[in-house]
Symmetry: C2
Subunit: 378 residues, 2 copies
């Protein structure tokens, strides 16, 4: 497996990014990802009960439709909590794009990130779409990855190549998040593209597993966004022997998992105000889910996060976090180990003597800078 | 009902507080509360799965025993995560006190707050007990309430008088919390004393209801301590017509609820680094529990708390908090109102159009000061 720390689109994919005027700064804010041939899609969305309009639209299209060719994503506006107008605006965006791309509107997925509760500036978007489409190219990923950023301080991107028999397949992923600097700037977005040929069932299964151990194992502040989305498109352009859940599946899952994990780690490293990158491993649990619950409880404890920031070797706060998880850990079975705190990367190892499962969660520390950033006066 | 904003012990109760040397600063750190006659007890403890030794001991004594006469509480050491030694030390403390008070050791309840994972300095405590007992008096509550403080910036105390037929009964409560300044300084402790005569069943029922709407409705940082305890003693000294669940119950519950709520509000007002006191009311829920879940989800959102600190009218973060609660609130049913943010006290009103139940939760904002305090370098 070859790994590149930048986004290189697989065969048959193109992208572009433009400044449509959603962001008042004039920065890039509208991205388009396009597959020349029809692609299969697998998606993961936030479990927040209040969901942004693009997620509602995607769910409808994913139900009715089997093939997709494009993703349009904007930054600067979350298109969330806009009532019936939100869904209408998202659909209008897809419709306008479908005319320009000459594809069915139901073959388009949409994503938004930014302010909650403001209408999408539809006219600006409609105006920008022809230019967006016209500029599509393989190199356009450079503009596209910038156009999905809000307060990110660096691009999150990765490309992996792996062999299926004699064919080289590629997985390329980009992500934004979880900078929440300006009011309501939330959301993690991730778009992944592969030219591997794979069944719909295998694609869904692989994404679920990969997300569960990557994007669902990171937390910056425990706040769940209304817009979080992971969208994976597979267009089969590499011409490989088709992957299914019994054939070459491990190979594909390994590459996809690696891509997701690397992007997830980048998101944590770019957490607002973060001064430390923290890896929490919980071992000897009864199940992965139990281990993860405990790890997330520690990771989301403000007392733990401030202790790490203050370089205070404060294992009592880890102990309290374990107990607060609701998992019935016995005091005598609990072992806690923390690596030296004067480093940038911190390892917390917890062992609970209940079984053989383990989980790893990534988080950042809680700093005065986080508060200042999110109070909105930086 | 008469309310006094200070602790005045009811008939038959005495207290005292001394400096035993647990705190290296020489401040008061050991408190004793004593009833001249046998009292009934009702208790509420943390639901953290890792529980401090004093809680384990109390649970055992409460199971075996019907009457109690004393509470001994120390600050500066949580006696938590000390393995079998913790329970032994707590029991030794009760034993030593029982000799000095000439009562059964099982008539004693214990409480601790402070550092997690350090042995209780048993010799110092044993040495201080005779002096502690000798100095017992009604006025000793002044020393006692200081001896349970850790990083509290003011005393939390209240006294209520109410009439049962022709008798005046008194409820007096003191509390500490939730300052978590030095590493592992956690815990909310609350001791309530009444001279009302009341059945055990009614006492338990009243405390459960009162705690559920007061101490269980506050959050400073969402971190659950290993030591949280509410202990209520009723010694019957006022000679009233005995309260049971059918007779005078509403009267007693009203007074107890008021005492608990006032103490709970004081704890939030003394939250570390807090600059705002926030009241979150969720209305039109299906049940109290549903309303409370939503209110706590908002209250524990770092993004919401930093927005309030920054005086940023940021209703998207409230919307996201509602959705993250897991309660299936429809976007169209959700109404959010926030009072002006440039005040010290903030009201957040949320309505979800699902039923007729409501809940109120109190919290504070998240400030850079909180982070600095808990990072341990203030």
């Amino acid at each position: 497996m070859k790994i590149y720390k930048k986004a290189i689109l697989p065969n048959g994919f193109m992208a572009n990014g433009v400044a449509s005027g959603i962001k008042k700064t004039g920065k890039l804010d509208l991205a388009l990802f396009y597959s020349e041939v029809r692609a299969k899609a697998a998606c993961g969305f936030t479990t927040n009960k209040i969901q942004a309009a693009p997620i509602k639209l995607n769910k409808r299209y994913l139900k009715d439709n089997k093939h997709f060719q494009a993703i349009i994503a904007n930054s600067g506006n979350a298109n969330c909590f806009n009532g019936k107008f939100g869904l209408k605006d998202a659909e209008e965006t897809a419709k306008e794009l479908s005319k320009n791309l000459k594809i069915d509107k139901q073959a388009i997925l949409v994503a938004s990130t930014g302010i909650i509760g403001r209408r999408l500036p539809l006219l600006k978007i409609k105006h920008a779409i022809p230019k967006l489409v016209k500029g599509l190219s393989k190199e356009g990923i450079r503009q596209a990855k910038k156009a999905i950023m809000t307060t990110d301080t660096f691009n999150k991107e990765i490309t992996l190549e792996f062999k299926i028999k004699n064919q080289i397949a590629t997985i390329c992923g980009i992500a934004k998040g979880s900078g929440m600097i300006a009011p309501n700037m939330a959301t993690m977005l991730c778009f992944i593209f592969t030219d591997a040929s794979i069944t719909k069932e295998a694609l869904n299964k692989a994404l679920k597993i990969a997300v569960d151990k990557s994007f669902n194992c990171i937390t910056v502040d425990g706040c769940m966004s209304t817009n979080d989305s992971v969208i994976l498109l597979a267009n089969g352009s590499c011409g490989n022997d088709t992957i299914d859940t019994n054939k070459h599946f491990g190979l594909f899952l390994g590459a996809l998992s690696r891509a997701c994990l690397e992007l997830a780690r980048m998101i944590v490293k770019d957490g607002e105000g973060a001064s430390k990158f923290i890896k929490i491993k919980v071992q000897k649990a009864k199940s992965f889910s139990e281990a993860k619950t405990i790890a997330l409880n520690i990771a989301n404890s403000n007392l733990f996060k401030t202790a790490i920031y203050g370089e205070n070797p404060n294992f009592g706060r880890i102990v309290a976090g374990v107990g607060a998880s609701g998992i019935n850990v016995q005091e005598k079975d609990l072992k806690v180990k923390v690596s030296p705190l004067n480093k940038k990367e911190i390892n917390v190892d917890v062992s609970i003597n209940r079984g053989n499962a383990s989980a790893i969660v990534y988080t950042s520390d809680l700093t005065p800078e986080y508060v200042k950033i999110n109070a909105g006066y930086n």
